[in-house]
Structures are given as structure tokens and as C-alpha cells.
Subunit: 187 residues, 2 copies
Amino acid sequence: MPADRTRRAVLDAAARLFGKNSTASLSDVAAAAGVGRTTVHRCFATREELVRALVEDALDQVTEAIAAARPDRGPADAALRRVVDAVVPIGVEVRFLTAEPEMFNDPALMSRWYATLEPITAAVRRGQDDGLLRADLPTAWIVDLLAGAIVTAWDSVDEGRLAPREAPGLVFSSVLFGVTRPRDEAR
Amino acid sequence: MPADRTRRAVLDAAARLFGKNSTASLSDVAAAAGVGRTTVHRCFATREELVRALVEDALDQVTEAIAAARPDRGPADAALRRVVDAVVPIGVEVRFLTAEPEMFNDPALMSRWYATLEPITAAVRRGQDDGLLRADLPTAWIVDLLAGAIVTAWDSVDEGRLAPREAPGLVFSSVLFGVTRPRDEAR
DNA sequence: ATACTATGGAACAAAGGTGTTCCAAAACGA
DNA sequence: TCGTTTTGGAACACCTTTGTTCCATAGTAT
């Protein structure tokens, strides 16, 4: 019965709060969303249901952002660049995912997570087959490494140590080329 | 008044449990440590005190591991390699740190965290000054990236997707050289 | 204006975690 | 062995969170 915009307000507030403190109470969530606690319970019967909806929503956002980057098109490096550009900016909404270790105990959510990453995995594998990316590294590891770098960027931005505009470029450049200074080519 | 080994058992059990579920109750901790809940309270008066001791202990372990790697000696790349080799294996004991976002709200703990990373930061800066590492990346970002890759490796090992023996090499090689295939040199 | 819906507040019981106290039993050292 | 220390269990009050119910109010559409 609750209005859609109310549900969204609760989801957004919860995502923001749980990112900072995953044990925030439903009263806190209600207050942050600017609604009454009763309304929160009308949207999500139990706390578990709220968290579930929150995770689903976050996974949807990430999945959509990845799909919009068309990782299946063109050279793998350009594809990964587009993915990074698309995913880094939505950190606030999904940052809380990394603070919920419980998620990784639920097999259903885990497979949804892998499904979300699948387009990236495919792009990386394509890059390895093309000889563009190192084939001596496991595909899954490269994907994990990239995802980890994105999370690191989220944190750095969140703590004010990194400008949001610079984050995607830094992530891409660091993961693709490493932090070693390339040797001078012409000499 | 509690014996030292009792205290250690509680700390170790708590680190393990909180890594999986940061809201585990003190009863769970006591059971996992094989002691009574009363004993836990004798070691740490309140839950907060336990978490605090846990964080301090974990930071101590990381600090010690880093120091043992002598990051102030020799070329930066070799120094970082030793650091990675030293830090990756102690993941189990400190894995829970990344699941405690509350830590990053405490300024005192944050400065201890930075102090812990300082030797690595110094090594990275040295590498940048020497021309061994890229100078176009912020020093702090390189450090964060490396730390993030180590956490990623912990997770991958934990989920059985990465053999513990291979983890340090993968982290080092990926962060230092990137995931791009180097162009053939001789041709 | 009127009916309907969404909302917020108050009050409530239930559950779980926390911190404390007391006492008996086990472990330990002299 | 004896005395001391450490430990575990039980019981307790307290607090917070959760989930529920009921009712009054604000907003909306007809």
C-alpha cells in the first residue's frame, strides 16, 4: 500500500546508513528517510526483508550500469574502461554491499553476484584470448582485482582522499598497466 | 586475573567469528573460544572493549609483519614484494577489520591505521623518487590499491578460488605490472 | 465535500544481547 | 596435600530492537 517514492526513500536512506554502520536500527533508517517507523514496516515487514530488497536493488543497479557500458563490444581494454566509468560513480548506493559479510553466506545471493559480474568476466576472457590481457593470470582473479580496485576507489573518494572525477581513470590505469613505471621505449 | 592464553583464545575466536559475522554475540564468541561467557567478561569488561582490543591486536600483527619485511631496505619493488609475502598469509587474523566500517569513524583508530601503513607509504614514495614506480599516481592511492589487492586476495583464498601459495605472487605481479599483456620486446 | 489511502505516533509484548553477582568446581602452584 | 586462583554455570535486571496493533491525521482523487 505504501507509495513507491516512500519505498525508494527508505531504500536510499538504508543504503546510506548501512554503508556507515551495518547495525543501524530501523528507527534510524526511518528517521534518515524522513518517515515514521510504522511506514518502514509497511514497506518491509521485517528487517531481513529490507536488507534483502536492499541487496537486490544494489545488484540491479550494478547490473544495469555494467550492461549500459556494453562490455561485449569492441576491444577488451576499451570495454573495461567503459565499465569502470559506469560503475565507479554509483558507489554510494552500493557501498554497503562490501560491509555485509553475511551476504557471502547466502548461496542464492552469491550466484546473483556472480551473474552480475559475468559480463565483465566475459570481456576479460575475450581480452585474454585476444592477447590484449595477460593470460597467465586467472580470469576470475582479474575480475576480482578490478572489483577490489573499484571498492578501494569508493573508499578513497568517501574519505576525501580522491576526487570523484579522477577515480575512474586512476582505477583503470592502475589495474590495466600496474604501478611500475614503464621503461623508456625509444632509446 | 584471567590467564594470558585464555585471553588469546578469546581474541582469536572473536577475530574468526567477527570476520564471518560482525554481529556475533558474546555467547558465540565464548563458545567458539571454548570458555564460559563469564570468562569473556572477565577478560573484556564490555563488548566495546573486546572489539577495541581486537582491532589493536590486529593492527599490531600487521605492523609487525610489515616491519619484519624491512620495507625500508633495498629497491622498492623488492621491498613491496617482501611486504606482500608477509602480509597476505595473516589474513585470517585481520580479515574482520574490513568488515568493521565503524572503525573508520574513530579518528584514533584511523591514525593508528595510517601509522601502520606508513612504512609501506615510505617504500612507495622511495620507488616513485627512484623512477621505479609511476610518479603520475598519488602515493596514497598506490598504497590503497596494494592494500585493496591484498584484501581481495584474502577473500579469494577464503572462498577457495585461490590457492594460498599463489596469492602473494598474484597480488604483487598484478599490482606492479597490471593485467595488460606486455608487448613483445624483441621484434 | 466525501470517501479512500497513506502516514505517523503511541503503546505494547516478545526476544535477544549485555553486564553483573554469587557460588561451586576445576586447575594450579607451593 | 592444601590453599589459591581461575573458571563455568545459573540467575538476575536492564536495555535495545523488533514486530504488532490501534487510532488520529494529512493528503488525494472523485
